[in-house]
Symmetry: C2
Subunit: 393 residues, 2 copies
């Protein structure tokens, strides 16, 4: 009854879990660089900026002070309080610190929440395209992702109508992201409210990934906590706060789940990294926020530069994204197979981007994700190379 | 079909996952301290020593150099190489760096390995008493822990005979720990070899938790890698290397599993903490090892002090442990209920210890775990208080 491959004995769930194609692209990009090629990286889902200096310094002070022992499983009390204050300050939403669980990245947060909510055989509704790990966390629990194909008509987001159409007696949760990866689009407040009400009415849970909050341009992204206190919100210090490698995120849970989340966090993680937690205390300081807002403007300039350029090159981007640092571009006019196109762009033009395959199967071969996680000069260089590559013959 | 508690919707597996009783004890100890009581902490499973200075300094240098982006999912190549060299230097065992996956603590390592190996409904054989998270990781995957009661006759360890008796057609793995928590005992090399051969013969996998390696007294603990290259070894920078709060561990996997572990690590963790990984590069330096060896001697002095004292107080400790920093003591002569005894010791004597309940159910009410993770003066104070408490009337 066990999967046997030669001398290997591998659980069946692993067959459903795909590696990220972008890792292949990245590895080949690094190999080309090792041969002396210059590569413009537009495949990488992390800010190019280093962690802001005030956070670095807080981390160094924590180390100097010997802050190297375990924290409580749910996180440092002062960090949970700082996160609660952040909701009050930035969103005007009142969240008790007891509802906040600090986790090893949003990865840990997602795993924690899904493990507490989803039984084997139960379904979790999510958009296709979407963040690839989501479906794999569900599979790890022997749950079933329910993919809802989304397109430009709904800004690539689930809607309450789509939820109503895809919810079954086996559905236990829906997972949305705003801003989303790979599309950068937002869920409007009225849809958030309607989806939360629908899922709660069905006795399920709405999980809202807000890890790109803060990185929003010409728009205002409401936190789902402002429309319901029964949703699970996932957030992270990685993207807006520039702390990717520190592996620190959090969950805001509805009242009544604290105990279950805490006992599972004890078992899964013991706790998040202590130096990271002390460093993150500086993330909400005014001097840090000032740096982060400058970076947000830099991302916005990149978006404003790249979007029209890619469109002119023949990539279709029907919706202007309002957040994150991604452009999800239809490349069907250029090549019917975006995976092949990404490989050719890398090999022939020295431009790395992520094929749609990484984000699902709905029209995946027609799409490429460009990340503007490199500076304007490099983006300009990348666009010139793509123009040469696509139109020189 | 879903568990409903009031407005909560909680997956069934959560009912099988217990919080650590020691967390209750710790919380009540902290509350007593807040009231001004002095508490001797013998319940805490982490070294009292801070992270050694060379590791702290390496962490500070990494932060100053902006080492804050993601590493590859399997870990920094130079750290995987350093761990491989450690096996060569300390054990004379040759391990290819490609077989080493760096993880967020041994918690991440255990989860990774069990997820790759264990199907829902399959069994994992483990000792009772044992580390409480092990069974919970198995339950999270909807696998089934098979508990083998162990006692002093086998140094509280599984043996090949016990494995043979408990292995069924549904067993997929066995999990052992050497040195073990809560007993501090080792698995001898001949038993390691026999268990590895038995499990491999059955088409299963042997997982060996070596997180207390390095903390061994008057004995030599062989790594399971010296008897078989088909075992999975779990290790950590937490205990011997004094890096608990940094959340950093590793897996050594048999050849052929690298790809599955890597793709799952991508999904579960993205990667372990980057500052932690850079800091850990200093863990194997001679000046660090010198500090760690002094600490090992300090632990040994504590063991040599505490063991006879506890025996004289009426705790039965039939086997002298040779590793870790725990004494697993039979308290049946003092109280038939060790949980009640721990509560009374805390309340009346100001001494915190962990009830056997945290480690399983086999004679759990007869046992208490004492951790010698506090200095000799405090241990002396604790013993005096216990003597007063137990014999003053």
């Amino acid at each position: 009854m066990r999967g046997m491959n030669g001398k290997r004995h591998i659980a069946r769930r692993m067959a459903d879990i795909q590696p990220f194609y972008v890792m292949d692209i990245l590895a080949r990009a690094r190999a080309l660089e090792a041969e002396g090629r210059d590569i413009v990286h537009m495949e990488i889902g992390e800010p190019d900026f280093p962690t802001p200096a005030p956070i670095i310094e807080a981390g160094q002070r924590a180390l100097a002070a010997g802050r190297t022992h375990y924290t409580p499983a749910a996180g440092l009390p002062e960090l949970r309080e700082a996160i609660a204050r952040h909701y009050a300050t930035r969103y005007g939403v009142n969240v008790a610190p007891s509802r906040i669980i600090v986790t090893p990245g949003a990865s840990g947060a997602l795993q924690l929440v899904l493990s507490v909510l989803v039984n084997p055989g139960e379904q979790v509704v999510m958009a296709d395209p979407g963040y690839p790990c989501n479906r794999n966390f569900v599979r790890l629990l022997d749950g079933e992702p329910t993919f809802v194909p989304v397109d430009a008509a709904t800004d690539y987001q689930l809607t309450v109508d789509a939820l109503r159409a895809s919810w079954t007696g086996r559905s236990s949760a829906a997972l949305i992201a705003s801003p989303a990866n790979p599309t950068g689009t937002l869920v409007p407040a009225d849809q958030l409210r309607a989806m939360a009400a629908f899922v709660e009415g069905k006795g399920g849970s709405l999980i809202v990934d807000e890890i790109y909050h803060g990185l929003v341009y010409d728009a205002d992204a409401p936190t789902a906590l402002s429309v319901s206190d029964r949703v699970f919100v996932i957030n992270s210090f990685s993207k807006y706060f520039g702390m990717t490698g520190w592996r620190l995120g959090w969950v805001v849970a509805p009242e009544g789940y604290e105990h279950e989340l805490d006992k599972l966090a004890q078992n899964l993680f013991l706790a998040a990294s202590t130096p990271s937690q002390y460093a993150a205390l500086a993330a909400f300081e005014p001097e840090t926020i000032e740096i982060l807002e400058q970076r947000r403007q830099a991302f916005q300039e990149r978006l404003d530069f790249l979007l029209p350029k890619l469109r002119r090159l023949g990539f279709e981007i029907p919706v202007k994204p309002q957040g994150a640092f991604y452009l999800y571009a239809n490349s069907a006019r250029l090549d019917s197979d975006s995976f092949a196109l990404c490989n050719r762009m890398l090999q022939e033009a020295g431009v790395a981007a992520t094929p749609g395959l990484d984000f699902g199967s709905h029209r995946a071969a027609e799409h490429v994700r460009f990340a503007y996680t490199t500076d304007l000069d490099r983006l300009r260089e990348g666009v010139e190379r793509l123009e040469d590559f696509l139109y020189r013959n």
